[in-house]
Amino acid sequence: MTSVVTAKGLSKRYRSQPALDGASFTIGPGRIVGLIGPNGAGKTTALKAILGLTTFDGHLEVLGLDPRKDRNTLMEQVCFIADVAVLPRWLKVADAVDFVANTHPRFDRAKCEAFLARTKLQPKQKVRQLSKGMIVQLHLALVMSIDAKLLVLDEPTLGLDILYRKQFYQSLLEDYFDEEKTILVTTHQVEEIEHILTDLMFIRDGRIVLDADMDTIGERFSEVLVGPELANAARQLNPLDERQVFGKSIFLFDNVSRSELERLGEVRRPSIGDLFVATMKGTYA
């Protein structure tokens, strides 16, 4: 199967600050990929490069096209929600649907109207009258009605309450995602997307520091709860991270055999959040 996104040595500098520093990765079809990184790690720049919104050095192919040159063709197959509340404030709900229906060749109007019927949005309402959560509902209804191959989401749920956040990802999974589609999402609310991701990428200082599917991550990384008497033995095995809880130590290991770890204590699968914190240690120092 050909990949949806292929990036090799992606680099981009803003003034003297590198935003991307030779990032390489591949995203296959039918995946839900989380691109996770601390602030300023280059997430948004990477997405902008994929969307053809910025210049960059290196090789990048999206659906077989160069986003710098073929952006107009590319955007028929790629959708994105850049952030909450980027819909123009003067736009009416009905006009938004009309506009996309008449300018996007892959938009399904009936589908969009069905999505909107499940919300409290009124056709005559203007975006300025909507709450942040409702704006996202509108944006999501528009985007989910477009039969695109790649959907890019940059912090799509920032500033939303938990009801809207849950509903957002639930709609995506139930009404949108299938094996033909690929979703690339960045967010800081890692816990919320943990269970829907198929792949995980960590980005730090413009480089991809971890790129694996969720099964591999489950096999590779383990968290062990170790009593004080075995703590030193655990430290011998080069843990990624160690933290203290109730007089016991929690160690995070990368690629240490399970049988070996089970002798030290109770082995669990680490959460992405803990993995992230361990990987990004010292980022802001």
């Binding site: 902008k48 969307l51 919104l53 910025t54 210049t55 952006r71 107009n72 063709t73 955007m75 028929e76 959708c79 994105f80 929600i81 850049a82 952030d83 980027v86 819909l87 123009p88 404030r89 003067w90 736009l91 009416k92 006009d95 009309d98 506009f99 996309v100 008449n102 300018t103 996007h104 060749p105 944006h139 985007v143």
Partner: protein
Amino acid sequence: MKTFFWLVKREFWEHKGGFVTAPLVAGAIGFLLNAMLIAFGEGHYAGANFHTNFSAAYDSADLAKAGVVVDGLLYGVTLMILIVTAIVVFFYCLGSLYDDRRDRSVLFWKSLPLSDTTTVLSKLASAVIFAPAIAVVVGVVVGLALTIMFVGVASLHGLSAWPLLMQAHPFKVTLNLILLIPLYALWALPTAGWLMLCSAFARSKPFLWAIALPVGTGVLVSWWGLMIGDSGFSRWFWPNVVGRMLGGLIPAGWVNSTSRVVHSSDIDLALHQGDPAAALDQIGLAFHYSAVTNPSLYVGVLAGAAMIAGAIWFRRWRDDS
């Protein structure tokens, strides 16, 4: 083509207030002021010869003159409304490629398969063709309403309405006004192009860029002229560069660049001979379009096209949202 139509429609959704409401309000005010003027004249002078722009028309001896007043009314009202639209369009151009970058909604538009070229051209067309066209339509409608009111009042003064209307040329005037829109667009192109270029280019305060750059350059040129004691270049520079970059939206700004088939002395002469109809005919379509032969017009068009191309480039690559 369909995309272009919807892009223009989008501009009118966003700028309905400026493009439609403003000329309507200006037209309503124009109508009201004229009605007040007539009422004032009727009340104070009881139908005697009072001096308004209608006074010439109350002379039943000269229906032709009365007809010219009606024609002049149509031109005058439309001109007034076009000036309002010109002001609106000036600020529209400045914001056209900047406002959506500032509120980041450009990211929504850019998530749709719309080319930057089509987007910029749709905004340009809204500015120099569709907005002026609306002003002309509103102007003609208000002008005709005024004509009806005026003819009604004139008939009270013993003029018969129909012969008077026959002396006026509302259809010819309307057609002239519509046919002048392309010339207006060409003449306005350098200004629209410059303002849109600033709008696409500026990271902040496009207004400052748009004004400061040409005016600052003009001041430098004038200063240099003073230093070398020859202000010839400066006298050319201000109207032909600064003026064209900032003032191209002023309606009929091209009249000084017409090839002067008509001399203003001819118009004066016709007016002195008591033949305003001839005077009005002198400044017909042929007069206006003679500006096309003037380098000032087509050099301006070329410069405007280049600046639009620049605006498209910046629209594509400006990455600050």
